[in-house]
Amino acid sequence: MAQQLSSKKNNFGLGVSLRNYIRENAGILIGLVLLCIIITIVNPNFLSSNNLMNVLRQTSTNLYLAVAMTMIIILGGIDLSVGSVMAVTGVVTTMSIATWGFPVWIAIIIGILVGLLFGAINGYISATTIIPPFIVTLATMNIARGAAYVMTDGQPVRVMSDSFNFIGSGYLFGFLPMPVLYLIIFLIICYIIMNKTKLGRYMYAVGGNPEAARFAGINIKKVKFFAYTFSGFMAAVAGIVLASRMFSGQPTAGNGAELDAIAAVVLGGTSMSGGIGKIGGTVIGALIIGVLSNGLNLMGVSSFWQYIVKGIVILIAVYADVIKRRKAV
C-alpha cells in the first residue's frame, strides 16, 4: 500500500497554486486592476513607489483585522468588537509608556494581553452559550470603546518615544514600512493555518455544517475560542501599530474599522453564511478598499463623498461576485 501511495504524485507546485489563485479571484482581480488603471490615468502619481507603499501601509491596518475576520466569518461568526479593541489596546499601550512609565516592550505585551483578553471573552461566550456572536461582540464593542474613553477621559494619550514610534513609522532596509513587514508575516501564518493545518480544516468544517462537525467529534468550542482570541490579538496589533503611527493612543481610533474589515472579507468572496472563503481573496478585497480611498484622495474627492463611493463599490462588487458564482454552479 505504501508503494502505491508514493507512486501517485500530484502537482502542488507554486505555478499551479498561483494559477488557481488567479482563476478563483479573477473577478475582483480584474476590478482591482481596472481601478488602478483609472486612477493612474487621472493621476499618474498613483504609481509612484512612495504612494504605493503608502497604500500598502494604510491597507495593512485593515488587513490585520480582516484576516482574522475571514477566519471568524468562515466559522459562521462575526466580530464587531475589533475596532473598539484597537482603540483600547492603543490607549493601554500608550498609557503604559506615558502614564505608568513602563518600557516600550512591556507596554506592547500589556496591550496585546488586553486584546487577547477581549478576544478570549468573545470566544468563550460565543463558544459556550447560545448568544449569537453578533450580540456578544456588539456588547464587547461597546465595553471596549467605553473603557478607552473612561481611561483617557476622552483625550488622546501622547507618547514621545522613538522606539515606540519606530514600530509603526519605521522602515526595514529603508524602504519596507514596518507595518507592511508585520502584515507579510501574519499573512503567511494565516495562510498556513487556513490551508495547511488541522485547525484551518476544522474552521471550514464548523462553518460549513456545525452539526456534521459535532457528529465528527470536532471540538467546536476550541476552534471558535481560538478564532475569536486570534481576532482580539490581531486587533491589538492593529491598535498598537496605529497608535505608534499617530504618536498617541486615541480613544476614537478604529471607529468603524470592523466594518471595513468585513467589507474586505466579503469583497474577497467569503460567504457570510460560513464555510466558504479564502485569506487570499480578503487580501484583494482590502486592496480594493485601500486603492479606492487612496485614489479618491489623489483625485481630491472629499472624505464625505468617499463613504458614498465606497458603499456603491461594495454593493456592485459583491453583486457581481454572487452572479459569477451562481453561473459557475
Binding site: 495547511k196 488541522k198 468544517a205 456534521a212 459535532r214 465528527a216 464555510g275
Partner: protein
C-alpha cells in the same frame, strides 16, 4: 381508472455535459397512482421538474387532459393543476397551518386586508376532510413530520390539483404514519386525482401503486402493471442486469464480546438498555421511528450524555463523554442524516473523507496534502465511489456515493465497532447492494457492526441478531431462527 390525465411524449433534456432525458414517454390516468422508479440519476427528478415548470423542455410534447400545453414556469404548472410535493418539506415553521396553505394567495376582504376568518375556516374544512384532528391555527413548527407532510398534500389539493407528484413522501415517516398517508392517497384516488409516486421502497410501491414506470440513465425502460410484476423484475429493469444476490452476507462464527452496554438510561429517550455486541457480527436494531434507537447510539458515541449505566469495550469499563472518547475506543458512528449531520456538502470528497484522520498526514503541524490525496484516492477505489476527482464537492454526488464517502470517513479511523444508522436510506439499489458487500467484508475482517434500520428486509437479511426497541427499551433480542417481519413488528409495537 379513467381517462388520460397526462401524457408526456419523447421528452428530451440536455444539461451542459449531461444528456439527462432521452426521449422519455410517460402517462398518467385519473384516479391512478403511477410510480416512477429508477436509481438516483436515472432522470426521475428531471422529468418531474419539467412537469412542474422548474426546468424547460428541450424537445417533446406534454398533453394534459388531451390538450397540448406549454409549461414554462411553476405558475403555469399550477394553472394546469400540477402540484409537486418535494422530498424536503417547504413550509414556513412559524406561521399557522392556514397561513401556510394560503401563502402567496391569501383571501382578501373588501378593504384589501387578509380575510383571516375565511382563510382559517377554509383551511379548517380541508383539515376536517382528512380527519386530521388539527386546528388550522396551529403553528406548523408544532407538527410532527407526518403531519407536515399532510399539510403539504392539503396545500396541493387546495390548488384543485389534478396531478400530484410525491417525491419520496415516506422517507421520514413511521410505519403508522405511512398507513395514514396511504389512506389519504386512496381517498384522493376516489376523487379522480392522478398521483405520481417516487420511492425506492419496493414494498410500498407494491402496496399503493397501480402501475410502475422504470427509468435508467435518462431513458424510458418500460411500464408494468403492479399486480403483474414482482420486486426481482423491477430491480433487474432498474439496474439492467439480474441482481442474483442482492443481500451479500456470509454468516460465520462471531467471537467474543467487544462492546457491552449495561443498563443505559437517558431520561425521555432510552430506558435501562443492555446488550452485548460480539466480534464479527451484525447486530440489527429494529423499531418504529421514535423507539429510541438513534438516541441510544448517540449516547454510546458520546454525542448525548446518559444518566445512568455503563459501557464496556473489550471487557473494560470506559468513560465516553464526547465523540472523541468513543473514537479513541475505536467506535465509529455513521449518522442517519448524512446531509444534515454527516457531510460537509460544499467541501470536497477529500475534505470529507479525511477530516477524522488528519493526524496521520501531519508533518510537524502541516497537513501533507499529497499523502492525503493518495489516501482519499485509495478509499475512492476501494469502495468504488463514483466521483470525477477527489476535489469534487460532495454535495454534487449521488446519495449512494455520498453515503460511501461518509462510511469511508469512519472506516479510515479503523473502527472495531461500527454503528451504521439507516445505512441505505435514500440510496439506490445498486449502491445498496455495494454497501451490503462492504459490510460483509468488514465483518470478515473482524469489525463488529450495529445496524439501525427501518427496512425490515434489510434487517432480516443482514443481521446475525436483531434487537427490537420500543418506547426507549429493548423489547426483545431475536436470533436468526426467530426472524420474521411479523415477529419484529410484534415486538416493535410493544408486544411481549
Amino acid at each position: 381508472m379513467g381517462n388520460k390525465l397526462l401524457e408526456m411524449i419523447g421528452v428530451n433534456k440536455r444539461f451542459p455535459g449531461v444528456y439527462a432525458l432521452k426521449g422519455v414517454d410517460f402517462n398518467l390516468e385519473s384516479g391512478e397512482v403511477h410510480a416512477l422508479l429508477g436509481e438516483n440519476g436515472a432522470g426521475k427528478s428531471t422529468l418531474m421538474k419539467i412537469l412542474g415548470g422548474i426546468y424547460g423542455i428541450d424537445e417533446g410534447e406534454i398533453f394534459i387532459e388531451g390538450k397540448k400545453v406549454q409549461i414554462n414556469s411553476v405558475k403555469d404548472a399550477q394553472g394546469y393543476g400540477v402540484s409537486i410535493i418535494h422530498q424536503e418539506i417547504v413550509l414556513v415553521p412559524y406561521l399557522t397551518i392556514a397561513e401556510n396553505i394560503y401563502l402567496g394567495r391569501e383571501p382578501l376582504n373588501n378593504s384589501g386586508f387578509i380575510d383571516k376568518k375565511i382563510m382559517f375556516e377554509n383551511a379548517q374544512k380541508f383539515l376536517d376532510d382528512f380527519d386530521l384532528g388539527l386546528s388550522s391555527s396551529t403553528l406548523v413548527n408544532d407538527l410532527t413530520v407526518a403531519q407536515k407532510q399532510m399539510i403539504e398534500i392539503i396545500k396541493a389539493i387546495s390548488f384543485n390539483s389534478k396531478i400530484i407528484v410525491m417525491d419520496e413522501p415516506t422517507s421520514s415517516l413511521s410505519e403508522k404514519e405511512v398507513d395514514f398517508l396511504f389512506n389519504t392517497i386512496r381517498n384522493l384516488k376516489k376523487k379522480g386525482v392522478g398521483m405520481i409516486y417516487i420511492s425506492h421502497r419496493m414494498n410500498e410501491l407494491m402496496e399503493i401503486t397501480d402501475r410502475i414506470t422504470v427509468m435508467r440513465d435518462g431513458e424510458y425502460i418500460g411500464t408494468v402493471v403492479t399486480k403483474q410484476t414482482n420486486v426481482d423484475q423491477l430491480i433487474s429493469m432498474m439496474v439492467g442486469r439480474e441482481l442474483t444476490n442482492y443481500y451479500i452476507r456470509d454468516f460465520g462464527n462471531s467471537g467474543e464480546t467487544v462492546l457491552k452496554v449495561d443498563k443505559l438510561s437517558r431520561k425521555g429517550a432510552i430506558d435501562n438498555v443492555s446488550f452485548e455486541l460480539k466480534k464479527g457480527e451484525i447486530l440489527g436494531f429494529a423499531g418504529l421511528v421514535g423507539a429510541g434507537r438513534s438516541e441510544l447510539m448517540k449516547c454510546i458515541f458520546g454525542l448525548d450524555p446518559f444518566d445512568t449505566g455503563d459501557i464496556y469495550v473489550n471487557g473494560k469499563k470506559v468513560s465516553i463523554k464526547n465523540p472523541n472518547d468513543a473514537i479513541n475506543n475505536r467506535i465509529a458512528y455513521v449518522t442517519e442524516n448524512r446531509k444534515e449531520e454527516g457531510l460537509f456538502l460544499i467541501e470536497s470528497v477529500r475534505f470529507n473523507l479525511t477530516i477524522k484522520i488528519l493526524d496521520e498526514f501531519l508533518k510537524f503541524f502541516r497537513v501533507n496534502q499529497r499523502y492525503e490525496n493518495n489516501v482519499a484516492n485509495n478509499y475512492i477505489n476501494e469502495l468504488s465511489i463514483k466521483t470525477p476527482s477527489t476535489e469534487q464537492a460532495v454535495g454534487n454526488l449521488s446519495g449512494g456515493n455520498q453515503q460511501k464517502v461518509l462510511i469511508s470517513r469512519w472506516l479510515a479511523t479503523k473502527p472495531k465497532v461500527l454503528i451504521l444508522d439507516e445505512p441505505t436510506r435514500g440510496v439506490d439499489v445498486g449502491a445498496k447492494s455495494e454497501i451490503y458487500s462492504i459490510m460483509n467484508r468488514l465483518i470478515k475482517e473482524g469489525v463488529s457492526i450495529i445496524m439501525v434500520s427501518s427496512e425490515l428486509p434489510e434487517v432480516i437479511n443482514m443481521s446475525d441478531r436483531v434487537a427490537v426497541m420500543w418506547n426507549g427499551r429493548i423489547q426483545k433480542i431475536l436470533s436468526r431462527d426467530q426472524f420474521s417481519q411479523e415477529t419484529i413488528m410484534h415486538y416493535a409495537t410493544g408486544g411481549n
